[in-house]
Structure formats: C-alpha cells, structure tokens
C-alpha cells in the first residue's frame, strides 16, 4: 500500500516534470505566460491609479498573475489531446498500460504549474516597477494558496481537456473562455457590479474560490480565512475531475472506434 502510494507519487512527479519541461522550452511561453500578464498588470495598475485607488498594487499583481495561470490552463490543458495528436504522441500515450486520464492529468497539472510563471513575473514586476512592497504577512500561506490554486486548475483542466476534445472547433471555444472567467471569478478585483443573475454562476466556479484564497493570502488574511475558500475551490474542482475521468475513458474508446487517434 505504502509502496503503491510511492509509485503513484513518483509517476506524478516524473510525468508532470516531463510536461513542464516540454512546455517551458517553447518560446511562445515567453509571450503568453510572461509578457501578456505583465501587460495586464500594467494596464490594471494604471486603471487603479486613474480610479484613485493606488493602495493595492499587490492585488493587481496577484490578479494579473491569476489571469496568466487561467490562460495557461485554458490554452494548454484545453488543447492537451490535440497537441499530443499533433506531436504524434497520443498513440504512444494510449498504448501505454496507464489510463489516458493519468497522462492527461500530468499535462493539465503541468499547464497550471507553467501558469505560475505568470504569478512570479507579475509579482516581480509589481515590486520592481510599481514599488509594491512584498507585504505578505505569511509567505508560506500564500505559497500554499497558490499550490491549492494549481491543483484546482489542474482538475478543471481535465474537464476542459475531456470536453474540448469532443468539439470540432475546440480552439475557437477555448479562445473565448479567458475573459468570462476573469470577469465571473473576480480574479483582478472582486466584482460586485455584475448583474444579479451572474452571481450564482460566479459562486459555483472553483476559480472564484481559488482566486479568493490567493487574494486573501496575499492581502494578509489568516489561515482560517484562506483555507476555507481554498478547500471549497478544491472540492468544486474535484467535482470537475470525476466526470472528466469518465469522459476521457469514453473518448479513448470512441477514438479507437472512429480511428481518430492519429492525425491522418
């Protein structure tokens, strides 16, 4: 039992490391994971300044970092199956005795981890350019909240990976998922001016809770304040993971029937 657990852990570490390395060697990462979030951070910072609310550069930096994390998950996890198909590795992954869901979980988790590059970049940017004081009262709690967010996003990524693969125009759909989630989850600033009918949607999105936990941890919230939304976020994400795993098994079977594993 203990040996099994160690094997699973090792498999996860090796698998996630593998895909993080794959993604990190792509030059496109530089633009989409580092530069774009910095632009958002800059824009948001000046918007705050225009609003005469300059007191929260940390909120802006963390918010822009969260935007980058979500973007990474939508684009890389959502397109995970398609990317492997392009690389020609989808067949190799399917042919391994490990369930496809396990290999895909490595990819979506890696996408969320690569997304944390954005968080690092926007925090550094905030300190260097906007004189943001590293005011984390509890840095360990912040790191924990970000880690919780990564796991949440990884699980949501599984749902994206399994549903988007069914759509002929997955790229087109994934493309539209950025702004609505930024808006509904209040990643940059808790949004109270949304129309009333949007509030319940916002409340059931795991991203809302994960973002809240990260923001609270950055803003000096205590462990209780941070862990509760983080836990809710993780629980809601787990709700995404279960149907996703079943769906992936179904997708694999369907691909074997319809001969769509290869690119040709």
């Amino acid at each position: 039992m203990r040996g099994d657990l160690r094997r699973v852990l090792r498999l996860t570490v090796v698998g996630v490391r593998h895909h993080v390395l794959c993604m990190s060697t792509s030059p496109m990462i530089l633009v989409f994971t580092l530069v774009t979030p910095l632009a958002y951070a800059t824009l948001a910072f000046y918007l705050f300044r225009a609003a005469d609310r300059p007191g929260t550069p940390a909120q802006v930096a963390v918010g822009a970092g969260l935007m980058g994390m979500w973007e990474s998950v939508v684009s890389r996890a959502g397109g995970a199956v398609q990317t492997q198909r392009w690389l020609g590795t989808l067949e190799t992954l399917v042919m391994a005795p490990m369930p496809l869901a396990v290999s895909l979980a490595h990819i979506t988790l890696a996408a969320a981890i690569v997304g944390t590059y954005s968080m690092g970049a926007t925090l550094a940017w905030g300190m260097l350019v906007f004189g943001m004081a590293p005011a984390f009262t509890d840095p360990a709690l912040f790191v924990l909240a970000v880690a919780g967010c990564v796991v949440s996003l990884g699980m949501i990524g599984m749902l994206l990976a399994s549903t988007l693969v069914l759509l002929r125009n997955a790229n087109a759909v994934a493309n539209t998922l950025d702004y609505p989630i930024y808006l509904l989850s209040g990643v940059l600033v808790p949004i109270t001016v949304l129309p009333g009918w949007m509030q319940p949607i916002s409340a059931v999105l795991p991203t809302t809770w994960a973002a809240r936990a990260v923001h609270l941890a950055a803003g000096g919230g205590g462990p209780g304040e941070v862990l509760v939304p983080m836990g809710i976020g993780l629980a809601l994400s787990l709700g995404c993971l279960l149907p996703a795993v079943r769906m992936i098994a179904w997708v694999e079977r369907r691909s074997r029937t319809a001969a769509t594993l290869a690119l040709t």
């Binding site: 498999l11 698998g15 794959c22 690389l87 074997r256």
Partner: protein, 332 residues
C-alpha cells in the same frame, strides 16, 4: 497459447469529411484476416502500400477496434482487455513523429519507463542498456529535435522495449532509413528474436522479409492472399522461369501483347533511369525468348537473361493472381 492470434479480423472505415457526415463512403481496409503467431516467431506482414498492414497492426496494438472478428495477444482480447495487452506489447509505428522533440532521449525514455511501470530500481540500468542496444548512448542528452530519422527510429525501438515486452510490433521499421541504419536495425531485431521476443513486422521490402521472417503473410487489398515460410512462398513459383529483358520505351501495348503469349504467367515492369526492366514469368522451359522479343516490336533492347524466381517474383505473382481473382469476383 499463441503469441498473436487473429480470427476473421476486419476493419471498415466510415469516411466522410466536412459538414455532412451522413453520406460518407465505407472503405474496407482489412477483410477477414486470420493468422496465428507462435511465441518466439518473427512474423512478417508483407504487402504494398495501402494493403491494410498498418490497419491490422493498429488493431493488434489496441489503437483501433476491429469492426468484425477478434484478435488476441497472449490470450488477451485486444478489443475487450486492452490494458493487459498493452502491458505485454511494445510497438513502433513507422515515421519520425511520436517523440517529445524538445526533450532529450533520456527524458523521453524516463517518462515512458514511468508510464509503463518499469520498477524505479531497475530503470536507470534498463535505459542505459537500451541506449547502448540502439547505439544512442553518446547522444542521450541531446534534444530529439536534432536527431536524424534513423536515430528517431532507434529511439522509438528503445522506448518500445523499456518494459521487456513479450511481443513487439514493428510497423515499417526501416522505411526511410539509409541502408546502413536499416541493416543495424534488422540486426537488432534478429537479436531480440534470438532472445525469445515474438516480433510482428510489416514491410514492403522483400529482401527484409526474406532475410528476417520465419513466416510471411502476403496481404493485398485487405486480404491475406498467401501465408507461409519464405521458402514455401518461393515454391509457389518454382515451376516458372523468369525472363528478364532490359528495354527502352516499352508501352502498355507491348506488355499486353506479351501477356497474351501462350505460356506467359505474368509480367512486371521496373522503371530505371531511362530504361525499363521487364520480368516475364513463363512456364518452366517454355523458351519464350523469341516471341517476347518479337512482341517488343523492334524496340532497343539491353541485357536479356533467364533466371530462377526470387521471393520478389513470388510476391509479385501472388499479388497479380490475387488481383486477377478479385477482378474476377467483381465481374461475376
């Protein structure tokens, strides 16, 4: 128990691209294919491109579900129990894709070792030994994107062998390799068979099949049209002579005229730079040199020779006969 067993294996593709999928054509890629491969054998699927070799391989390696028939690998059904099958097989599909190009060979192998559940304690040694086997030890830390096609193919082989599979599937393993690399790979395969691995390979290179395989199934248009040892296949054409004529500018009409001669069993034409090599299969001792030359009607000729039929001749004869049969089927 057979290492690999196919019983009436068939696969129909429903093609139909675009927005309206309803009226797609149905293409039968593999039709009622049956064969058994005992453990430790090197079994070849030989056939022209598009004959259904790769489709058969994909069904046996659990990537594709058969539309009819069954197949088992070491007793496990490939359609119903894919996971036990995947544990005992390794597969290399032709081509240079399917690797993580931005990472090193070592990284690629480590990842797949984990996915195949190779014991952590033995992983390092196993990977080192495989890199040695395929001759990539010196380049193991280089990114795969800089590899030649042959190196990629060898890395694929190493990947497929990580978990010591009992049955190895190789789809066109030497396609696109230079002769030296192809020879090395064939030697590797021969060593694996010698050490007890069952190997199924597809190829359209006659010499490769002749040199390597214990038995060959010739497959054409999705149907197995001959099955046996290379020697047995050659026996099918031993009652023949092959008249080989180098000729400049032979046209379809010349070939047609030759094929009408009594005693001619079939012809094949190989285009070389500016001449054609015409192989005329005749009944043994038919002595048709004169009529054949006459049928070529004053065309310039090069070397003319009579020889014993080779495996290639046998293969071509089998294909021609199966073509004639299916043509007859259509007519009937």
């Amino acid at each position: 128990m057979w290492a690999v067993e196919a019983i009436g294996l068939s696969r129909v593709y429903a093609s139909g691209a675009g927005w309206f999928r309803t009226r797609g054509a149905r293409i039968t890629a593999v039709r009622d294919v049956s064969f058994q491969v005992p453990e430790g054998e090197l079994f070849g699927l030989l056939g022209p491109n598009g004959a259904g070799k790769t489709t058969t391989m994909r069904m046996l390696t659990t990537l594709l579900l058969p539309t009819a028939g069954t197949a088992r690998v070491l007793g496990h059904d490939v359609a119903r129990d894919p996971v036990p099958v995947r544990r005992v097989i390794g597969a290399v599909s032709g081509g240079d894709r399917g690797l993580y190009d931005r990472l090193s060979a070592l990284d690629n192998l480590r990842y797949f070792a984990e996915l195949y559940g190779v014991e952590p304690r033995v992983q390092r040694a196993r990977i080192g030994e495989l890199l040695e086997l395929v001759g990539l030890t010196g380049r193991a830390r280089d990114r795969v994107e800089g590899y030649s096609r042959g190196m990629r193919q060898r890395l694929h082989v190493a990947r497929a062998l990580l978990h010591r599979p009992k049955v190895l599937f190789l789809d066109e393993p030497t396609a696109g390799l230079d002769p030296l690399a192809a020879r090395d790979l064939r030697q590797t395969v021969a060593r694996l068979v010698a050490s007890g691995t069952t190997v199924l390979l597809t190829t359209h290179y006659m010499a490769e099949a002749d040199q390597l395989c214990d038995r060959i199934a010739v497959i054409s248009d999705g149907v197995v049209c001959a099955l046996g040892t290379p020697a047995a296949l050659k026996d099918q054409v031993k009652e023949r002579d092959v008249l080989e004529v180098e000729v400049y500018g032979a046209a379809a009409e010349h070939i047609a005229r030759i094929e009408e001669l009594a005693g001619v069993r079939g012809t094949s034409v190989e285009e070389r730079e500016h001449l054609q090599v015409l192989a005329v299969h005749t009944d043994r001792g038919a002595g048709l040199l004169g009529p054949v030359v006459a049928a070529l009607d004053g065309l310039r000729l090069g070397k003319v020779a009579t020889r014993e039929p080779s495996l290639e001749d046998a293969y071509l004869a089998i294909l021609q006969e199966s073509g004639r049969e299916s043509a007859a089927e259509v007519r009937a």
